[in-house]
Amino acid sequence: MWDHEIKAMASSHAIIASCIFMATVVPAVFIPGFSVYGTHLLWLYCVTAAVSVVTVSVFWLLGVSQPTKKITLSYKLSRLVRSCLYLLLSCLFYHTVVVLYGAPLIESALETFSLAVLLTSLTTLRCLCVLGPNVQAWIRVFSRHGAMSVWDTSLQITVACSVIGAWLGAFPIPLDWDRPWQVWPVSCSLGSVIGYLTGLVAAPAWIHFHRKQLTYKCK
């Protein structure tokens, strides 16, 4: 039913996934000693930046975001400001949640905040791109009958996958294996990125296989 959209989604997801891959490989060529564990924060920032840039540009080019009624400059500006504010709030929100889950409060606050930024770029940014700075819509999307397009469904899947990935990433931390990826926040950020990649693959696949059952209310 939505073959065109599924194709667009699959290709855009492929672009995002490949850019995560590039963000891991390319800096290793230019920066000596670059590795996912060793210079973890650097890798994390690379991935964050790559995902942010590519997501924004892909969704802007695709024009998924809801058409705005008024196209005045001031309206655009206010949307931009609101988006930035939401991104910041989302970083703080994730930071708080991660601390509540047991991350150290004061020491390694930078690592925790970096993880929050990564999670924001994986989840909130996509929400912003798909739904615009509209918290009501965000809340609406995450319910069983809340999705109104294939993009909403894919948003549900990727966000859930990234968050669950980060949650699962906390599991190996207490183990006494003394591996480099057990250091905070390596396992969690790896988990969320892997979860996100899974979501990128799973979303078009799931939608493709369930396209007969999917029905969306019109807006």
Partner: protein, 1001 residues
Amino acid sequence: MKRLPVLCLLLWLCALFYVGIYLFVSGFLLVRLEVNRTSACDDVLQPGGGGVGGGDGVGGGGGSRRRDFCGAKPRFRRTLLLIIDALKMDFARFDPSNKTPRPYENKLPVLEEMTSLRPAHSRLYPFRADPPTTTMQRIKGFTTGSLPTFIDVGNNFASSAILEDNIIHQFGKIGKRLVFMGDDTWENLFPKKFQRSLPFPSFNVKDLHTVDNGILQHLYSTMVGEDWDVLVAHFLGVDHCGHRFGPDHPAMGHKLTQMDGVIRSVMERLHNDTLLVVMGDHGMTDTGDHGGESQKETDAALFLYSPTPLFPGPPSQSEPEVVPQTDLVPTLSLLLGAPIPYSNVGQVLLPLFPADSQTEGAAAGLSQLEALWVNVKQVDGDIPRSVQAYLSSVRETCRATWARFNPLKMAAGLVILALACLLCFLVSQASGALAAGARGMLTVPVATAAAVAACAAAGQVLVRGRVELAWCLAPAVFASELAMLQEPVSPSAFKIHPVLSIPQVAPRQSGSAHLVPLLVAALRCASLLSDSYVIAEGRVVTFLLLSLGLYVPVRLHWDGHLLPPPHEPQKPPAGLLPPPPPAAAVRREAGVLLGCLGLLVGAAYLSLSFHACREEQGACQPSPFLSPLSRMQDSRLKNVHYGLSLAALGLWTHLLRRWLRHYGNLNASGGAVWVACRVLPLVAVCLGLHWAVSATPEDSFRNLAELIGQAQVLLPRAAFALLGLGAALLWADPLTIYQRMRRSLEDSEQPGGREVDTRPAVEAYGLGTVYSAPLLLLCGLLGLGLLLLHPEGMAVSFLLLLLEMGALLHIHAAATGLAGLQGAHSGDFSVPWTPVVLWSLASSQFFHATGHLPTFPSIQWAAAFVGFPGGHAGTLLPAALVTLNTFSSHILFAGIRPSVLLSTFMYNVWSLLQVLSCVCAAAVLRRHLMVWKVFTPKLMFEASGFLVSSAFLLVGVALVARVDLAVGRWFRRLLPDPTRRLSRLARSNSTRQVYSEFAAI
């Protein structure tokens, strides 16, 4: 009349589980076989060591030398064993370059002076203890020369006589006159072995001076006399000081200085033929505790001195770096000319023996291994290294193979436990039906059990001639379980019982609703199988609790229950859909849900700061709230902590009363209300005063010392008495209903009453919470009592516990309410597993957040002295107090459980599953490196926690049954006989109200 059968069923299930645990534990916990053989003088040189025979050294055949051994003149005629409990190696070292010593450093200069001035006469060694480093095990270890076993730990306060061959016995046999003074543990271990003994009570940890001063009164006069050969003096002051104040406290400095003086005076009085041994039996951690196997706990000090030259020369390269504690036994035996005790596995301390004489170091292995005898001959300095290595390897082999499991018993225990779990689950699924027909149901299983037990006993008598309890119980319980499984559950008997199975939701539910709570439950069970997760259990449990808590609103929102449905302009025709629920109500419920979730998350997060530390957690700082106020030295910090504790205590009391007032229970008059208004605040005042008194430094109010001492006894006892009184009153009169006769309609506050007749109507207040109010009061009383047994700082943690309990209940109620409001079937969201798992996770979480850990050294022994600073006569009362202290979180969460949680049985299934996974962990990983350090203590704590919480669950259920009875009577009194039907109607009304009450609280 269905209360009794339900209680019976619960008891029966618990009994099944107790038997299963008993069977498993009796097969799992190692029983060390004590060998009752003793060495004799003529054993010593029995050949059998193989190639090391020969006629070198002393020469002569075996026969002539046998008699020589005990008859020969030993190197020392007398020895003075000065044991300073918990004399850590750090205390004994002296570092002259240290200009700013800590209170425990550089306080024993005498040792350093002697070793440097008279190197041939004295030596200081680190003295390594084998875990467990508890005093009784250590005394056993360094008198028998063997290794203590795990099971011995439990006997620490009921020490029984040593039956194994030991050095005291050997000294007695060769005619030494033994004198003992100090720690009365010795007297229990060696009854009637001493010519003269002056035991002093050891159990009172707060008492720093009684034992030491008692020893000092008699020590010097005894020493001067000639009527002793072996004198054992066991000082306890240092250990008690560590337990009370920690090593880093000025009191420790004073105590060590006193010990320094003692050692000096003893040295002055020594004769030339006397050997002085100053030793610690174990060390202590930085908090002053011991029992584990960290190096801080195992490294004690050993100091040897004699007025005659003891060592052939100054310290050389061949000096051992560390002396194991088992080595003291053969060394002392040989120095004093006694045979080495049979079960010794230590080796002689070689530097003490001159190179040209001969020494015998003998090691006896285990009975399982075969007795091993080795003679070490030191001829011309040619020490056979291989023999030393051999002796060391025997020691290691003993350590490794001490374990002997009984796999049959373990398997039987596991099977019974698993079956009990299954049964409990089945019962929980059909609890209503079982409640109705329970009486008939239990007859067959119980009869089967009795019959099978009798058969098994008879069979055992016939075949083996004696009865072993475990093998009677195992078949009996197994048969009983099978009989129960055969029992048909008749659906016609399905009746909802008002107390135990009210919100029993139909088991048919959508699978996805169960998925996440069951996943969390599975994760929790799986985490018990890994030592890392058991070590980090406090955090793991909090993590899972938060995850499941956050899942509740997410799930609700996913199902579209959290927000009011959007207002749609094109409304579907009425009649097809139920009318949309009022948006305001939904919003309010959602607000309550989210607010309580915030409270839950906050309480769970803050509770992380009350954790204690396991020794395995390297960089972990125990919570500052855990140390009692009397240990704190900064007086400002002390005041802040005290103020915080008082505030928490006040809030605890206030919140309870506030809740009762909110639901109108305080208007009534009666026992329960009196308890809430009078007893509760009074107990709180007692608690606050008690904390203040126990926190006052001993030396600040000299003239008030007697008063303070009395207050320390009286205040907690008064609190205990008040709590007992409160509980009795609560039991006697649990109703908190305020009734009022309404004469006419004008009095009525709410208009719209339809009955216009002038018959007097009855208004009852507080009926909605008639069941939960007494339970909550009981919980409040219990909480205060348990708080009394904890360090003061834990008051904050207890407050968090109360808040979290409330938050959990409100979340459950709001979630159910929201699902109901949105027109969904009310059972749709109230997934029975979510609250059950949440509740139990919270209980485990607060086990950790009240400063407890599933390890033996972390047991808070101080709880035994609350109200009894002078110590106890028996062991029952202190054991009970310590148990209450340890499992306080289990008790509180179990006590209030029957009123609020879905099914008692459901909860039981879950606790059983946790115990079962602990049992599995211990069984599967029984050869794991960490089995004795992590899994076994965890199993013991989980099993005892289940035991205690099931006991208090029964108390709670009994209280609910009592309230039920009282409510029934109240209705009957209200509506006399002719209106019997009406009464039943009212009764069912009350049941419905209970429903709403569950939703409300």
